[in-house]
């Protein structure tokens, strides 16, 4: 069993309405120090040892991300981390 994190974000040249709305909210609520927000998707996967990096790449490209407008990163996580703050 391994844990894998896949982060999917909209390509930088493509509009990210979510990020835009959040940035506006932050400046309204007094956080002028934030100059850019992009919202994407975060996936936590649990995979067994049969799943190669190639498989993960394919999974991300085929299912988790939309290659037309998004880019992604695949990260294998050290077993113990839980990926959760508290």
């Amino acid at each position: 069993m391994a844990r894998v994190a896949v982060d999917v974000v909209i390509k930088s040249e493509i509009l990210d309405p979510q990020g835009k709305a959040i940035l506006a909210a932050l400046s309204r609520t007094g956080h002028p120090g934030v100059s850019s927000v992009r919202q994407g998707k975060h996936f936590d996967l649990e995979v067994d040892d049969t799943v190669s990096d190639g498989d993960l790449e394919e999974i991300a490209a085929q299912l988790l991300a939309n290659a037309v407008i998004e880019t992604w990163t695949v990260t294998r996580l050290p077993a113990e981390t839980t990926g959760e703050g508290r």
Binding site: P17, Q18, A21, I22, A24, A25, R28, T29, Q39
Partner: protein
């Protein structure tokens, strides 16, 4: 003196015209409230209508909950001001901490618009006194994030104190499951302990005239609050 009921408009609010109309149909005066204006204009109750406030891109209602007008509403609500949140409004009230729990993506992952049967559970709240206990009403449901979730302890509390206002019991004219979004305990709406703050996922304001809605079953919410405000009803 006819009651004055505030109707909030955030950028992205859609059903404010409908909510205002429903208030009028109940012979009260709708008072427009603007998201950026903290002034509640002395209204005696507030409706937070449906829509996609600020786009609802982050989490439904999350950004609206922080708007200047909501800060005033939260304060006034703690002081007993009756508030009804419909759909996005319900989401806003949860995000604002005025009601417990949260509304997540529908179990079916799709926006659902259909005529929904509901069963009245609590008919003593400020917003539901006009309904008979156990009454079944048919009003529109339309949302993508209507799945009510809360910790078991919260659910027990809601059930124990009879704070579930309405439950989903089925849809008109199809074989789809009665619970349209996977809400826990089939919850369609809840209220605060004092029954003054209410949240409902389906849309009573879209069912005030059979010409444009499936029924006029939704009018009860607005008549109830008018009764409440006029003190006509001894609670």
């Amino acid at each position: 003196m006819t009651p004055r009921v505030g109707v909030i408009t955030f950028p992205g609010t859609l059903d404010d015209v409908d909510a205002a109309r429903a208030v009028r149909y109940a012979d009260a005066v709708p008072v427009p409230l603007w998201h950026a204006d903290a002034d509640l204009k002395g209204v005696e109750a507030v409706v937070v209508p449906g829509g996609f406030s600020y786009g609802d891109y982050l989490r439904a209602g999350a950004i609206a909950a922080q708007a200047p007008v909501m800060r005033s509403v939260i304060e006034a609500a703690h002081g007993g001001l009756p508030v009804l949140g419909i759909c996005n409004g319900f989401q806003v009230l949860c995000e604002a901490g005025l009601l417990p729990g949260a509304l997540l993506r529908n179990a079916g992952l799709k926006f659902v618009c259909r005529d929904q049967w509901l069963k009245a559970e609590n008919t003593s709240s400020a917003w539901t006194s006009r309904y008979e206990p156990g009454a079944e009403i048919l009003i529109p449901l339309k949302n993508a994030e209507g799945r009510y979730v809360a910790a078991d302890s919260v659910l027990d509390e809601l059930e124990g104190e009879g704070r579930v206002l309405f439950r989903y019991i089925g849809s008109a004219g199809d074989d789809a499951p009665p619970n349209p979004n996977g809400s826990l305990h089939d919850i369609a709406g809840i209220c605060s302990a004092d029954g003054r703050i209410a949240g409902l996922m389906p849309h009573p304001e879209h069912a005030v005239d059979p010409l444009t809605g499936p029924t006029d079953d939704g009018l009860g919410f607005f008549l109830s609050i008018v009764d409440f405000l006029e003190g006509a009803k001894v609670r």
